[in-house]
């Protein structure tokens, strides 16, 4: 993989006629729509996954580890048996794992932005946010893979959602919408921070309290009052309640609306900040 090829056989010599023929001014096509440019960048993300499949490790191994660890670690103590705990835990652990892996977005953006190819993207006459949207489209696919892995392992371990296929898919869809919106926070940090290590540092600082101080692992009613206030305000708690309600077959419309509105707010705020940084970089 790391070998550099030298030209063997026939050395290249630029031929005037051949080059002139490719330079012939064919009519310039109209600039692509915002949608088409974003989808093209999404295709780039797919190609990256194809060429560097190792990056799928974090969307498969990490969720499997989380699910197994928490089911068997806490299951007996918290709910009598791992299987019973799993009914409560699975939607939450799915949310935690997927929201956790959103932070790789920032790291990837930070690594990529230093490369020459970004200069080229930024000199193209295209809808400016499409580069970032394309990134996130690729990431949403990774989030979907992670969700599927967790769902399958959950079903294997005895997770039996009463919401059926519709409820489960609805829950995953809501999770993907929120994760897409939440990722704009990381694109912002990816552009803001000096190197990937600092991006990772900030991400952990945000993610650890956000995911643990929530209703993922235990019912907040068992916590001290001051902590309950924090936990109940956490967006992760709202998201977990919504996903649980969908998978459980009793959609909580109030919570779902809360999640959708906060997703919109995240995109507007952090999307704007991301694009401002992108244009200044």
């Amino acid at each position: 993989m790391s070998t550099t090829t030298t030209e063997t056989a026939t050395p290249y010599a630029p031929a005037a006629e051949t080059l002139a023929s490719v330079l012939a001014p064919t009519a310039r096509p109209p600039r692509p729509s915002a949608w088409s440019a974003s989808m093209t960048f999404g295709w780039r993300s797919m190609l990256k996954i194809k060429h560097v499949p190792e990056q799928l490790f974090d969307v498969t191994a990490f969720p499997i580890m989380m699910t197994l660890m928490f089911t068997y670690l806490f299951g007996g103590a918290l709910a009598g048996s791992p299987t019973e705990y799993l009914q409560f835990l699975l939607p939450g652990i799915m949310v935690t794992s997927v929201v956790m892996i959103t932070m790789y977005t920032g790291v990837e953006v930070n690594k990529d932005i230093e490369k020459g190819v970004f200069d080229r993207f930024r000199t193209l006459p295209i809808w400016r946010p499409s580069t970032m949207v394309g990134y996130l489209l690729g990431d949403v696919l990774r989030y979907f893979m992670a969700s599927t892995v967790i769902l399958l392992i959950g079903l294997l371990l005895g997770f039996r959602p009463s919401g059926g296929i519709t409820g489960v898919l609805g829950g995953i869809a809501l999770l993907l919408v929120f994760s897409f919106a939440f990722s704009w926070l990381w694109t912002m940090f990816g552009l803001l921070m000096r190197n990937e290590k600092s991006v990772m540092g900030v991400s952990m600082l945000v993610m650890m309290p956000l995911t643990f101080l929530s209703n993922v692992y235990v019912d907040p009613a068992t916590m001290p009052g001051w902590l309950q206030v924090f936990v109940n305000a956490s967006p992760i708690s709202h998201l977990v309640t919504s996903v649980r309600s969908l998978m459980g077959g009793t959609p909580d419309m109030g919570e779902i609306t809360w999640v959708l509105v906060s997703s919109a707010v995240l995109v507007v705020v952090f999307g704007t900040l991301t694009m401002r940084l992108y244009n200044r970089k």
């Binding site: 993989m1 070998t3 550099t4 090829t5 030298t6 030209e7 050395p11 290249y12 010599a13 630029p14 031929a15 005037a16 051949t18 080059l19 002139a20 023929s21 490719v22 330079l23 012939a24 001014p25 310039r28 096509p29 109209p30 600039r31 692509p32 088409s36 440019a37 093209t40 960048f41 295709w43 780039r44 190609l47 990256k48 060429h51 560097v52 490369k115 020459g116 190819v117 200069d119 080229r120 993207f121 930024r122 000199t123 193209l124 006459p125 295209i126 200044r280």
Partner: protein, 325 residues
């Protein structure tokens, strides 16, 4: 007078305490190669990045085909292409994927994008390497895929930022040939380089920049006549004889002699044009009759160092201070 491709006045870019570009005035005529010559850290890359809409100027004005690079950035982007100092393609993707991706982003539909990519790969001798990741390409191949990516839609203005730095002579000649063909086709090229020879071979006009400012501008001929058309480079056997050699050369050539870092080497400008070889022979004859042994000599174009010495009375700063850019 036709509209210039690039017009800047008092362009400034500041990084912290460094004024990377400090009042740059350029007027680049359309339809030719314009060379921007300067050492590392002179502000070449920073200037190109502002003109290509990648950096926002801190002061002054710049227009590309009459469009302001800040207020009408999109109009500028639709007419220019940039081949940066480092490969402006995705190293993890294949050559073919890179070109298809960019063709799609320029608005070609899928079949047309594929066709255009294949056509360019063929013209640049990369068909065999089309399916391989760019990171496996040699330096020359990378440059070619990079230039191919820049002419997917034939641009009106092409920025080439030090296109041959780090290339072997054969690849360098290929790039020169490509540049000539592209310009013959009507594209304006702004070429930055550290090599006077490169600017001389390709450019119709050259601006020499130092500390973010233009210190000389003109045709290669004008520039060289202000610098001396060529120089003789001499290596002595004995370093102790250098002061004597310096005196003799100054006398024979009537130009300043530059003592190089190498204790046995000297470089002297030769006033031309026309009889450089005869003058050099005469100078070498003086050394020989004084009994000074010359191990090696060569007659060449003035180096960037000599250009700078002549224009600024200080050698080109070669410190790696372009890091900020």
């Amino acid at each position: 007078m036709p509209e210039p491709a690039i017009q800047t006045s008092g362009l400034v870019k500041v990084f912290g305490d460094t004024r990377a570009v400090d009042g740059l005035d350029l007027s680049v005529p359309a339809g030719a190669v314009y060379g921007v010559l300067g050492p590392n850290g002179a502000g070449k890359t920073t200037a190109v990045r502002m003109l290509a809409t990648l950096l926002r100027p801190d002061g002054g004005e710049a227009t590309v085909f009459g469009h302001d690079v800040v207020r009408e950035a999109d109009a500028v982007r639709s007419r220019v292409s940039l081949t940066g100092q480092y490969a402006s393609v995705d190293e993890e993707m294949t050559g073919s994927e890179n070109l298809i991706l960019l063709a799609r982003l320029l608005g070609h539909r899928k079949p047309a994008a594929r066709e255009r990519a294949a056509e360019l790969l063929e013209a640049f001798g990369l068909t065999e390497a089309a399916g391989r990741q760019v990171k496996t390409y040699s330096g020359g191949m990378r440059r070619r895929i990079d230039i191919a990516a820049s002419i997917l839609n034939t641009p009106d203005l092409l920025f080439l930022d030090e296109p041959t730095t780090g290339l072997d002579p054969r690849s360098r000649n290929q790039v020169w040939d490509i540049v000539r063909i592209v310009v013959a086709h009507g594209t304006t090229v702004l070429l930055t380089t550290q090599y006077l020879e490169e600017a001389d071979r390709l450019a119709q006009r050259i601006a020499v920049i130092d500390h973010g400012r233009v210190i000389a501008e003109g045709t290669p001929g004008e520039l060289k006549s202000s610098v001396g058309s060529g120089s003789i480079h001499v290596r002595l056997r004995d370093a102790a004889e250098r002061p004597e050699a310096e005196r003799l050369l100054t006398e024979a050539l009537d130009t300043p002699v530059y003592l190089e870092a190498d204790p046995v080497a000297l470089t002297a400008r030769i006033n031309g044009p026309g009889d450089e070889a005869a003058q050099a022979a005469r100078a070498l004859g003086r050394l020989a009759s004084a009994g000074i042994v010359v191990d090696d000599f060569s007659l060449g174009q003035p180096s960037l160092d000599e250009v700078f010495l002549a224009l600024t009375d200080h050698p080109a700063t070669t410190a790696a201070d372009e890091a900020a850019a």
